[in-house]
Symmetry: C3
Subunit: 394 residues, 3 copies
């Protein structure tokens, strides 16, 4: 085992200077957080830990104590109490900025459709993180906003097309939570106009009768997806694990196979997000379909000391030009910081292992690391250097 594999500091040094493009995350909160709120941000559970236990007793909790505590001026493995005291002492803004500015992330692609009032928007993120920030539009949220604004069934298709086009003038791509709302085993083709109008009418009736404006109709969700396909968008899909609202067995990316066949020549690119525990399946899809990319964002944070293995498992079937970095962080600045730190470390160690086993040259390791860290994302999203030059860091 090489020295760099032993010591995180050394590991990071080697590829630590490569900027990261975080192609999927949400905004950070700058609130000063009480313990219950903070604990709710470091788990995918919607509920408090059982009495007598804490969400800090997890890989993520240990990683926070080990690596985030020093960023806030504490010793490694400070207790949860000491950590949260210090975090409050600094204040939510200062703590978040310290952590964000230590990530080495140069670009954030930020999905804005989830609990947007609690977190910073892209401009706020850019300032807090001293980085570039770009917007990703959540398709389902866009449709819900139309309904909330009073759109009728006959006008839905045209209205959606218009707002999507408007948003895509600035946004770098779209995101779908079809996995949550209808499962990935949906009918792969687009619905007819008539079916769409009927489905929207039924949805409007339900909301008129008092149901919350929550899009979970498969016909409508499929329409949104094909609207994005027709525009040749970069389309992010929630895949694999999330909170208790997801039926994880319906989030296997293989269920998208026929959809991927039908969209192969459309010009759209499909970005499979997080994917755990189906990351090997995602790697297969990334090999066989030219327009498919994937990452294991969320799982890197949540598996902490085990993330090295998860990252190595992503480097099997997928071509090196199809793997992306994301943190999938939401709310807690710790998640961006650890997402970046653990990703750099895991990738470095995997490449070191390959060098030990198979003599991969240093230049090739560096090249592969840059592909995964940011170059693949720029290609997948079809963004040229000008886009990044224009989007100056604050």
């Amino acid at each position: 085992m090489s020295t760099s594999a032993r010591t995180p500091a050394a590991a990071v040094a080697t590829i630590g200077d490569i900027p990261l493009l975080d192609h999927h995350c949400h905004g950070v909160t700058t609130e000063t957080l009480d313990r219950a709120t903070f604990e709710s941000l470091i788990t995918e559970s919607d509920w408090a830990a059982p009495e007598g236990t804490t969400h800090f007793d997890s890989q993520l909790g240990f990683a926070i104590r080990r690596y985030c505590a020093p960023v806030l001026g504490l010793e490694p493995f400070a207790t949860p109490e000491a950590y949260l005291d210090r975090r409050r002492e600094l204040g939510g803004s200062e703590a978040s900025e310290r952590l964000l500015r230590a990530t080495g992330i140069s670009d954030y692609f930020i999905e804005v459709g989830h609990r947007g009032d609690e977190i910073l928007d892209p401009a706020g993120m850019a300032t807090a993180a001293r980085a570039r920030a770009f917007e990703v539009v959540r398709l389902e949220r866009l449709a819900e906003e139309l309904v909330l604004a009073g759109c009728d069934a006959a006008g839905f298709g045209a209205a959606f097309a218009r707002v999507l086009d408007e948003r895509l003038e600035h946004a770098v791509g779209v995101k779908s939570i079809a996995a949550y709302r209808i499962g990935l085993d949906f009918t792969p083709g687009p619905p007819s106009e008539g079916d769409l109008e009927s489905a929207v009418a039924a949805w409007l009736e339900r909301t008129a009768a008092g149901a919350p404006v929550r899009l979970d109709d498969p016909v409508i969700v499929r329409h949104l997806l094909w609207a994005a396909v027709d525009r040749g968008c970069a389309i992010q899909f929630h895949i694999g694990y999330g909170d208790a609202d997801v039926d994880l067995h319906r989030c296997n990316p293989l269920l998208l196979t026929e959809f991927l066949r039908r969209t192969r020549e459309s010009g759209a690119r499909v970005l499979l997000l997080h994917c755990y525990p189906f990351h090997r399946e995602a790697g297969y899809l990334a090999q066989v379909f030219p327009h498919v990319y994937f990452d294991v964002g969320l799982a890197i944070n949540y598996t902490g000391s085990r993330s090295d293995e998860i990252i190595a498992e992503t480097l099997e079937l997928a071509p090196f030009h199809k793997i992306l970095f994301s943190s999938d962080a939401f709310g807690a600045a710790e998640l961006y910081f650890l997402g970046a730190l653990l990703f750099r470390r895991g990738l470095e160690r995997a490449l070191d292992t390959f060098a030990r086993r198979d003599d991969w040259p240093a230049a090739e390791r560096r090249r592969i690391a840059e592909l995964i860290a940011w170059r693949n994302a720029r290609r997948a999203y079809r963004l040229d250097d000008d886009v990044f030059a224009e989007a100056e860091r604050p």
Copy 2:
């Protein structure tokens, strides 16, 4: 690699003094075993190995030769013939006691519903192992006993409630083999009284017509589960691999997702057993649902030299307060001994790895080890110290 990671002896020394609570196992046999019977106990296959081969040529077989042989006074890697000769020479009782008493297991939670006439009951296990033994009731067996005793369809619901209450005066929890009998993709809610009565009537008709009294009706199985839920029980579920009678693709714990949502506030706790090869899926459920716990019992024994990796894979998404130890041993004393030995070793090595990677402090590693070894089970089963103080070891 640290010294403790190299040598099992040293590895065990560090956490070897932590007592284990084996929250799911069966009774041991004290018979003196011929080769065919012994081979049948060291595989999940229902059949002999193909001609010219032996079930000893497996991870489990190699672990027996490596670690159990010395307990019986032989050199490591004695041949299968020498091992079985020595075992017969000692006699089944002596061999079993030597192995059981070397496990370091202080408490056995023993499921009594499977082939009970061939193996020791909890009292017998307590004596043989010099440990505490507690009973776990198999729900499906309880229902089958009612039918064998002549219960009629109209009286089934009340009779089942009565015998379940009686058994729960002593038992620490219940077990369901719904995975085997109906698959885990069952309708998640409880059946109506009318549906139950009809289903029992149909079952009684089948048995009256000569069918074996084997409960595989989904309506009745769901009733048993909800009887346990309504009592706020600790409910063990067979998950993942077992013998050839199981449809493994219907034993994925994710299929329980909706059942878990509906039982979250019931007070019941759900213990997912063994889980391989779905242990990552089980870890997800243990993170997002406050009442879900899991172990990888059976797989530890059967993967032998590879069990370190399996155990490490359980330490990803699941909070450390949700992981349990079990051997899932049945019949052969070797399975309890190896279950304990390999578990201690695998957990120690995983924690050593995390210490090497991320500096986990020794005190924290010890604390986590104790949680998984026995504390989590006491909490999950809601057993306070008095219960264990009263249940004196023989």
Copy 3:
């Protein structure tokens, strides 16, 4: 870590003298290949890599540059351009022979039903590789040939029986691509004669109307499988990953469970091919069913530097007498060479790890290695030594 685990050369030395029986592969091409053709042979994708990328940027591509380049007289990690120039300079025949003759594969079981006009037949392979070569018949292709030859619906059953019997006079087994054509979730029993005839009639109508002669009717495929079962054949099944034509979620070997139960006493043996990412599931089936064997052929090549882990994962539940070697190579000689090299290395390292952890004796490691390398295949295919003595190497 032992020296042998560090250095491929040393690792190969230890079990490098064990001949390999490649129980599933296709023929090699001896054409002189342009870059596009070569790239199409080193991916399971049916399409070129996206603009600006290359299929060489993959585990397989790196393994070719590292290990095949020296066989052709280049330095390790020659560029793709230099590698292909040198390959063209040598010519397709010379390059292929060099690589094949460096594999240490003594026996090839060659499936002849896929793109047979582009690749060498078994006799050609024997000469090119200086090895023995045996034929495996693709069931679906045999049926398609009957239809192309003008067989009618009423005569299909008898005609298929006749040609199958004829082919089995020489072939060592059969192969089914049911996974591709109908998914593995097919009705497990054989169809009736009437159902078969109707299904063939419908197929003939479709082809008469201009459809390509491509067998994807589940009734007919089931008939072919049961014809093989009734003859007590060795039956290879495509399992797990392949090209974009496969619905991978319908290629889980667990879907065969009921078929395996029904064929257990038939005398047939079932060989599960490649299996990734379902190799743990395959290992379970190999443990519980006496007539089930498996390998991870294709995945070894395609995961390159990660193949050590994949191979280790196959050594969990499966008895050591149920695991086979294959390359699943097609076309490019590099795939046979790397399949053999990476398999030897991965198996050696896994056994070294078990020796380090659990003191596996050298003689036992050697014995297990020989089982997996060739002895298990001879037993599974019921081929005695005479068969191999008669089939002299060219």
